[in-house]
Structure formats: C-alpha cells, structure tokens
C-alpha cells in the first residue's frame, strides 16, 4: 500500500500513528495508573513488604516507592506521570514517595465512576484543584511545632520505621538527627548530599554501624613504606593536594635532547630533584598528614614515612572536599607557596579497623559540619537498602527543620483532612459535591493500605477511624491506625510524626498528577522514526517493542491499543511495563 493509501480524506497523520480519544481513553489511562499504584501498594508503611527488582545483573531490594518506580521502566505514557510525581516527591521531600503515587491513583479511581457517567472532566479538574488547595491549607492549619529536638527525633524514627532497618531506629534516629542538626547549625543544610557521607562496609552486625562526627573514608591503596607511618595524630596539620607525587615526566609533549652523554645524569638528577622539591615543600609546610586526589607513589610514601608524616593518595574527590570543609584546609594544585593558611587541622586523626577494612578517621574537627555514617550489615543488598533508608531519613529531618512543624502519621492526617472535606462536600450544591466526596474518600487509601499491609482488618479499622473523626472532630484529629496492636489510636501520642511539608507536598503533587491525567482527552502516538539515531534514543522509552512493529500490519490496533486493552481488562500488569519485563507477586510466582 502506498504511504497515502487510497483515501486521503481519512489518513491525515503519518501511517502507524495511533490515536485514541474520548471517555474510554481516559478510563484506560486511569486503569493504567491504578496498575502502577498496585505495583508499589504493598510497600507502604512499617509493615510494608519489599520488592525485589532484577535488572540485568543488578538486584535491588527496596521499599522505596521512587526507587522501585525508577527501576520498573514504565512505558505507558499516562502512567509515566505517576513516576514523575514520585521522583519530584523524592527530590523535594525525600520520603513519602509511595503514598503520593497511591494517593494520585486513588483520586483517579474514585473519580472513574463519575467519568464513566459522563461528568465533564474539566469540571472535575477545577473542583479537585480547589479541593487540593483546601486539603493543603487544612494540613497547614493542623500542623503543630513542638520542641525541635523531640520533633526531629520522632520524625526520623517515623521515617525509618517503614524501612528495612526499622528495628534499629533507636540507633539510627539519633545518628541522623545529630548529623543534620550539625549541618543545619552551619547553614549548609541544603547541601545534605555533599556533606553527609554514608559509607558501606559489608559484614558485621547492623548494630555496629556508627556515626563519625567528622570525616571517615576507607584506607586508600597503599604503597611500600605505608606500614611504618604513624597512624594516629593529635591536632595534626593537614595538607590537601591535587598533585601527583610520583616520579614521572612533567608533561606528555616534553622532549629532552642532550648533546653529550655527561649531561644524561644531570637530567636524571633534575627529575629526581623536581619530585624531591615537591616533597620537601610538603614537609616544610609543617603538615603531619598529606592527602592527595592523585596518586602518591612509593618514593613519596617512603619519604613521608621517614619523616613521621602520614600520607594517602587517590582520595575520592567528595571525601577530600569533606576533609577540606571539616578541617578548614584548602585543596592545593601546586606545592609551591604553601602557607599556614592552606593547612587544616582536626582534634584527632586515627586509622581504625572496621570489619575487615581499615578506615581513616578525622574527628573533633574545628567546623564539625560534615558527618559520616558508617553502615554495617550482612549483605550488599541489605546495606544498599539501609543507605537509601538513611538517606530518606536525612531528607525528612532536613525538611522538618525547614518547615518547623509536624503532623501525625499513621493515616491520621489523611483521615482528618478526609473528614474535613466530607463535611465541606455536604455544603456544596450540584455535581461538585460528588467530586469533593470522591476526593475525600480517596484520602482514606493511606490508612486502609497501612492496615492491609499490617494484616489488620481494614474495613473495621477504617470505619472506627471515620466514626472517631466524625464524632469528636478536632479533639480526635490525630487518630490513626495503630500498626502495633491493631485498632485505632492517637498516633501523635504514639510518636508517629511526619513533617507537615511532606504531606502538603504529596497532596499537591497527587492533585496535580490527577489533573494532568484528567485533562488528557486524546492520546496520539507517532511511531518512532526510522533513522538509526532516533531508534537508539527511542530505546529508553520502549513504548512498543520494535520501532515499526505496531505500525506494520494493523495501523490502528497498534502498540498503544493493545497495552490499553490489557489495562482495560484489568488483567496482566505487564501491559504497563516495558516489553520483556516479567512480574511475579506473592508466593506462587515461578
């Protein structure tokens, strides 16, 4: 068949272009979002289960919504929006990435019957946007600011509670809080990733993880002479270099031409002289410890060892910067003109054995704003997940410091807002009432999921919660799910606190995502272009298998359509995932 076909009146877009529109299209988009939410649903809360995602040779075990969503490579264009909001939640808050996805999907699924009944989506968008604002305002009104230290500790515990290392929160929560507080005092709390390092050492017990108030890094590759070096200094002077201390040619394109053999020795001497000059300069500066980003060779190591100095080459950039920050040293690119100003100092330097690794520790630094968390644990995956959990906790504490106010978790704040909106809904006339009550009902997904994951009867608990909130109003505003014992309780009393910013951001993001999905009335998919360059970049999305696969035989029933059919039938979830992704759930998989 020709490119244009025989009936030019019908085909106006490129062949293979797939478009779907109207209510069925919207419903299928909503279904796709639900399917995505289903994939992360069970990870919510302290009793949430972890997911194992195998990708190539990498295995990741995670409980973090954003991490899972990132690894799933979701191909459905509308469902990608949910990945976006979970990322944005991760970026701006760092935690609550699962709940934001659940919330968005639930808002949509509660609105689905209304869509099917033919309510105008534009009305819905307007109403839920307004309702979302009210919900955020309500959270703002409810939030309280207790004593900072307790607030931070409780928030950190709550954040860690839902993670793999929840049983060790008594160890990690104070660690995280003290790390962030230090950083905050110096006003650098925004650069949390730069200044708080998390080091993993596989092996040993989780409980033997510790916090270094200062910098710690693994002993670098050592050269001959290393063993003779002093491994402990009190109040050492520290010199940081970006210089290679090794015997080598000064410049690649330099060439030496000599006219007589006698000069040969002088050239060799000169080369040695150059490196000795550098080493002398280092020693003359009065430094006790020399660290360099670049290698420090055998000669230099031996030279320093003889003179009672400690040195380490090939220190990772980030570690070196942290040392600079902690000790007030500045990194030098030359050994000429070293002054006392460029040297840093700290209270104590030592090399310590941790597990089967040796660690260099710099503690009691003058500006102790950088901290290092050293994590121990059984397996690589376990430590990796612990690191993510610590990171989330760090972000949560940071957020708490910034927002200065908290709300109670455990579904309490959602129930309060839901209760508030339900009352508001009853005052509204017309169809908007339905929309607002759908929104208020959607918020209940958080407590319900918490119950389900904890194996508590969700229906009973939810109705008890609803009743409590409806009857006692503001007096019962902190009533949420009691995960430990079942039933309902004042979660604020229980110490389940979350920063209010976290909740506000997730309400905002979920509302916005729902609006985006609702506002789409047509999906048009142009087939990937045929030139090889574009194909390569197309691999990232992978919307429909081989580039021309969908367009070849049946232009209309192409890739998108089939994915949507699957979503419609509510069957295999693989419809939302990239081709070739298999999905197993529960015990029966195999």
């Amino acid at each position: 068949m020709n490119q244009m076909g025989m009936r030019p009146g019908i085909i106006i877009l490129r062949e293979g272009t797939d478009s779907s529109q109207g209510t069925p299209q919207l419903v299928s988009n909503i279904n796709a979002c639900q399917a995505v939410a289903d994939a992360v649903r069970t990870t919510l809360g302290p009793r949430g289960m972890d997911k194992l995602v195998a990708k190539g040779n990498n295995t990741t075990i995670s409980n973090d919504g954003a991490t899972i969503m990132k690894l799933l490579e979701i191909a459905h264009p509308a469902a990608k929006t949910l990945v976006d909001i979970s990322m944005s939640q991760d970026l701006s808050v760092g935690d609550g990435t699962t709940s934001v996805v659940l919330l968005a999907a639930e808002i949509l699924s509660k609105l689905k019957p209304l869509v099917e009944e033919g309510l105008s989506p534009t009305r819905m968008i307007q109403t839920i946007r307004r309702t979302g604002k009210q919900a955020v305002q309500k959270v703002k009104d409810m939030a309280i600011s207790p004593d900072q230290q307790t607030m931070l500790l409780k928030c950190a515990s709550t954040a860690l509670n839902s993670k793999l290392i929840s049983s060790h929160q008594d160890l990690f929560a104070p660690m995280v809080v003290s790390a962030v507080t230090k950083l905050h005092e110096s006003g650098n709390v925004d650069e949390i990733a730069d200044w708080i390092a998390i080091k993993q050492i596989p092996g040993g017990d989780v409980r033997s993880s510790f916090l270094v108030e200062g910098v710690a890094f693994k002993k670098t590759f050592s050269y001959a002479g290393f063993e003779q070096m002093t491994k402990r200094f009190e109040k050492p002077k520290i010199l940081l270099l970006n210089v290679e201390l090794e015997l080598k040619s000064e410049k690649e394109n330099a060439e030496v031409r000599i006219s007589s053999p006698s000069e040969y020795q002088s050239i060799v001497d000169a080369e040695w002289q150059v490196i000795y000059d550098k080493l002398d300069a280092c020693v003359a500066s009065g430094a006790n410890i020399v660290l360099s980003k670049l290698p420090i060779g055998d000669l230099a190591t031996q030279y320093f060892a003889d003179r009672g100095l400690f040195c380490a080459g090939r220190v990772v950039d980030g570690d070196l910067k942290r040392v600079a920050k902690a000790t007030n040293a500045s990194i030098q690119t030359t050994t000429n003109g070293l002054t006392d100003e460029v040297l840093g100092t700290c209270g104590l330097f030592e090399e310590k054995q941790v597990g089967d690794e040796r660690f260099n520790l710099f503690t009691e630094c003058p500006s102790t704003l950088t901290c290092t968390v050293v994590l121990r644990g059984g397996t690589e995956q376990f430590i990796a997940e612990s690191e993510r959990s610590i990171h989330d906790a760090l972000m949560v504490v940071k957020r708490t410091i910034q927002s200065g106010s908290v709300v109670a978790g455990g579904g309490a704040v959602e129930m309060s807002v839901s209760n508030f909106l339900r009352r508001r809904a009853l005052e509204i006339e017309g169809k908007e009432q339905l929309i607002v009550s759908a929104y208020s009902k959607a918020l209940e997904v958080i407590p319900r999921q918490l119950c389900e994951n904890a194996g508590i009867d969700a229906t009973d608990t939810l109705s008890a919660l609803r009743r409590k909130h409806a009857q006692d109003g503001d007096d019962a505003k902190w009533y949420g799910v009691n995960i430990e014992e079942g039933g309902i309780t004042d979660t604020f009393e229980l110490g389940v606190w979350e920063p209010s910013d976290n909740k506000m951001n997730s309400f905002e993001a979920a509302t916005e995502a729902a609006c985006v999905i609702l506002s789409i009335d047509e999906t048009i998919i142009t087939p990937p272009s045929q030139d090889p360059g574009a194909q390569a970049s197309g691999m990232m999305g992978g919307a429909g298998g081989p580039p021309m696969g969908g367009g070849g035989g049946a232009p209309m029933g192409g890739m998108m359509g089939s994915a949507m059919d699957i979503a419609n039938s509510g069957g295999a979830r693989s419809g939302q995932l990239a081709p070739g992704v298999s999905y197993m759930k529960g015990r029966g998989g195999g």
Binding site: I11, D84, V256, S266, A270, S330, T333, N505, E522
Partner: protein
Amino acid sequence: MAQSMAFNSAAGLGGMLKDGHEHYFDDMEGGAVVARSIAAACELSRMLASSMGPQGRCKLVVNHLEKMIVTSDCAAILKEIEVEHPAAKLLEKAVRQQETECGDATNLCLMFAGELLNSTLDLMRTMGWRHSSDILEGYHMAADKLLNDLLPNTCVVQQIGHPAKDIEGLKTVLKPVMGSKQHGTEEVLADLVAQACQIVLKEGLVLQPESIRTVKIMGGNLGESVCIKGFVAKRAVETVLTSAEDAKIAVFASGIEASSTEAKGTVLMKTADDLKNYNKTEEAKMDEIIAGIAQSGIKVVVTGGSISDMALHFIERYKMVALRIGSKWELRRLCQATGATALVRLGAPTPDEMGRATVTQKSVGGTTVTVFENDAESKIATLVLRASTSSVLNDLERAVDDGVHAVEMACKDGRLVYGGGAAEMECAVHLDAFADKHPGLEQYAIRAFAKSLECVARTLAENAGWDALQVVADLRAAHVSGEADKGVDIADAPGITSMKDSAIYDLFKVKRSALKLGIEAATTVLKVDQIIMSKKAGAGPRQ
C-alpha cells in the same frame, strides 16, 4: 489541461510521471478532490477543537522520538503529530505562521479554517458542487469586510497604553492568555509574567521575547515559582566560595586554562635547569593572569569553557567565585543580564567589559542554582517555574512563552476586543446584515462565512460542558439586541455573561492575524482541484 489528459486514458498523466506518484482528481470514486481535502482538513480541526479555550482538554502526544508531551497548545500539538495529508498540511502551515507572528490564538486560526471549510461543504452540496468561484468571491468579500471594517471599527472596545506604564492593562491582556493554557492558575502566572515584563520593558520599545527566560525545576508547586531580576544558571559554582555581594564579574567565552597551540608541538629541553623550571614557569604564568584579574577588582569569574585545576587553585587563592556555563546562549544571556562583555582572551577585563551583580548559590527543590541578581538595570528577567511533573512544567513554560508573546504584541498595538466568543459573534451578526443586502450567489457564501464565526462560541461552550446550541442561540440573541459585550460564561454556570465585567479581552492584532491566516488557508484548500504527489524520495516501500 492536466485534467483533460487524465480523462483521456489511464496512461495519460500516469504515463508521464515517475512510478509511485499519486494523482487525485474530481471524477474519482468517493467525491470531488475538494470535498476530500475539506474532509481531511476538518478532521484535523475537529481533533483539536476540544483543546480550545480555558476549558480545553489536553492531548497526550508521544512523538517519533518517544518524548511525551501533554498540552492543550495547538501549535505544540501540531508540531509533534506529523500531519501527512497535503490539505491538512496547509492548515498546519497557517497555524505555524500564526505561532511565529503572534505566538498565540493558534487554535482559533485552525478552528476557524476548519469550520469555514465545513460550511463550504454544506454550501457546495446545496449548490450541486458548482459555483465554487462564486463561493470564493463571497468569502473574499466577507473576509474583507470582517478584517478591515468590522474588527477594527466595531469590535475594538478598549485600548491599553504601552505595557511599561500600564500595569493593569498588561494584566488584562495576560490573564485570558494564561487562562486559556493553564486554567485555574492564571492569576499566579499572569502576575509572574507581568513582573518579568516590568523588569525588562522599556517605555516605547517592543519587548524582546528572548529577554524573559524560564528555568524549570521539578518539585513543589506553581505557587513557589518566583521571578528573578537577573539570570539564573542551573548549576553550582566551582569554588568553595559561593556568593559575592554586588560583585564585579568577568565573563570569558574561552576556558580558563593554559592555552595550548593548535599545531602539534613538542617542548624541547636542553638542560637540567629547563626541566626543573618548566612547571614552575607555567604555574607562575597562570598565577600572574589570575592575580591580574583579581587586582582589577573582579570577584566572580564565569567561563564558557573548562577551568583547569591550576587556574581553579589560584582563583580559590585570590578568593573569587568561579562558574562554568556550557551553553553559548546562556553565556550571552548572562552578559546581557549583568552588562558584561564576553572576552576571548584570558586576562583582566577593562572596566567597561565588567559586569555587576550579586551572586548567590541556592538550592531549589534539590537542584543547585546560581543566581545573578542585578538591582540596577537588568535586561533579563528569569522565571523559576516549579511543578511536580515534568509535563506540567513544560506546559507552564509554553504558557509563559505565549504570555510573553502576547505582551510583545501589546507593545506594538494595544487595541483590545472582547474575548469569550463575543467579538466573533458580533462580527457574525453584522456580516449577516451585510449578506442580506447583497444580491447574487455571493450572499450564500457570506452567510456561510458569518455562520462559521459562531464556531468560537460553540466550541467554548462545548468544552465547558454546556449545551452548546442553547448558549449560541442565547448569545446570538443578545448580540442582535445590541449587547456587544456578551460572551460565553465558561466559569460559573451555563449561559452567557458580560466580558466587560469579567475583564476578558483579546488583543485585536492577534485575533485579526489568526482569522486572516485561517481564511487564507481555507480558501487555498478550496482552490485545489487536483492533488498530484510524486513518489517520496527514498521513503517508499522497496519491491
């Protein structure tokens, strides 16, 4: 001529052209070419009609690079969906033209063209597929009347001053533009764009759209977006020092590093001393350069290239801030914002070549940005947009872009007409009266033309979820009885309302251009009686 040949035999035209060509003419099965062209064009405009206006819905487009776009911006959609049909392409071209000229009202242009073609189809059916020249003649008369008489004389209801002075006027223009892209957030957006325009606009001059930049940062919500007087670079500074108050700035287009020769060279050393001093001289040279820059009072160094470790070392030593900006465009904008001149040689700038700004590094939603704020005259304003998904963010950027273009147009011509379908309905009513006085077949054409103008009100009402027929009827009645300010009420309840009270105005110049381009595209489609397409180069299936 060609037609008669085609009639003669199958071998006629087909025999003359290269294999693989396609030829469509009037006697083919399935109706006249013009009818089928119209059908294709209408299809396109119908597809996008649901995206019209504040209540318009978005389209989700996945383009050939598998990039996902969610927008209700007509020009943006058309750009991505690859229209193939030649007649529909004519409409697309008109839309593109409107986008480059005015930056807004693109959907009006497409929709009106589609509607006009649709009316023509009805008209030709009743007239028995003849008299197409009479129809065209009628359209020309109607267009002439509309564009040169009705719009400028009857519809223009207000005139705003130059946006640099008339802030209220500026917001009046911006709100409906923003509202039609991002309904519900127009207040915030309009305020932001108005602020930005205030910074860069000079009285009596036309706004340069490039002078308002946007920086998109994911996370947060629109309410956290801010307007910054100056420049924002989306990366962190290189140095330990991160801020400088009211600092002198040197901008280097080249990298800050020891210059190497283009030709391959080898350093030749003769004696041991050469070897010893080689590195020292290089160091000393860099020290000298950086010291020279520092001595001229420079506190911030910005470069388009890389900074060598050695240079960075000395920059740190002389307590300066260094920033790298990869893009040439960004660097040029920075120069505009700070008043600096980009230098190609490494060395201290003269006082005129220096820029001035307060530099700070901030963290916004997990992204580190460097802000150059300039309290004095800044030629650049930057809007930092926040939203929780990338598709919303991109759509916000498009909305800002449209808003900025609207301000640009307002600088050129501040005349306003009523929005919300009011101006079109007023013109339709007047054109009907004009048609009544006109004898001959043209009368039908003019009337069909007038009827097509109603499509604006109808689509707005449809998209808002109202009973469109009723709204249009009410609106027509209102306009006939002289209430020229009545338009479709899309916000509150089904029906019509005064556009004057709701302060919904469109720019006259934008509207005129959209209608004009729409009419031109439609009449071009109508003039076509044959479509001949030669074989596509390379793309066709190979046997």
